[in-house]
Symmetry: C2
Subunit: 157 residues, 2 copies
């Protein structure tokens, strides 16, 4: 998709309805990515070391939940959620339903839940979106519900 | 604090009460960290480029909310929340109250909200913790409420 096409398909608040669905491209994880993220942001044995992870709550190496969340954001920004003005979150709820494993191939399926124009700011509103991060077997690893700040379509002058 | 001391102070479910408070060490952010994280996980102009950020919703370069969240996790794991068995989240709510800026020095203040032994799993329970990420001026940038899986203190044989 070239930039012109991508720009044409960006959604403003006015373009979004509950039930609208979007699906991202894929991201293939591996052990190196999991360990590198964990060393920087979540240095716990079950994210860093296969032997230690085997004896842990996770029963094997698992990605940090924050790594799954960050990769989900990457997929949403680059292909999964074409919102005008970008993806600006006011707040989120995240549930980690299953561990993310080194051989997982992630993709994100999103559905618009609610569209609420702002009362005080006529130029924007809040869109609530549920984004499920799935692996290659269709298992839901993470469920994210985001409240996004989305601009209204500019009026013609 | 040496490792032996740190181990001695790790809290099991039985040791935690609503109102218990913990404070982390500090982490100094800078432009390079913000851009590096954004390139990998949240490649949007207002996280990547000062000029573009100045004209955006944020009015200046801002860290990805997921970067603030990941740094919060690092501070919690390394100094901010001494839980036996590590920090294992079942789910979280995150609110981003103010943008995180390149010159911010972050620290995390946590308070235990609720301690709930599991009915089905006698060896563990859920602890709900609110963690506020503050900058050097004491402004709350992010509020995180986590449901953590925490083991009970092992019984003497």
């Amino acid at each position: 998709m070239n930039t012109a096409t991508a720009r044409n398909t960006l959604r403003y608040l006015d373009d979004l309805c509950p039930g609208d669905r979007f699906e991202s491209a894929e991201h293939a994880l591996d052990i190196e990515q999991i360990i590198e993220f964990a060393e920087r942001f979540d240095p716990q044995p079950f994210h860093l070391d296969e032997a230690a992870a085997g004896a842990s709550f996770f029963g094997g190496l698992a990605a940090s939940g924050w790594h799954t969340a960050a990769l989900t954001m990457r997929l949403l920004v680059t292909s999964g959620l074409p919102i005008a003005g970008g993806l600006i979150g006011a707040g989120v709820e995240v549930s980690w339903l299953q561990p993310t494993r080194p051989d997982d191939v992630l993709r994100v399926c999103s559905e618009v839940l609610e569209v609420t124009p702002s009362r005080s700011r006529p130029e924007r509103g809040i869109v609530t979106v549920r984004s499920e991060t799935l692996n290659q077997r269709g298992e839901v690893l993470q469920r994210l519900v985001s409240r996004l700040v989305v601009p209204r379509r500019p009026q013609a002058a």
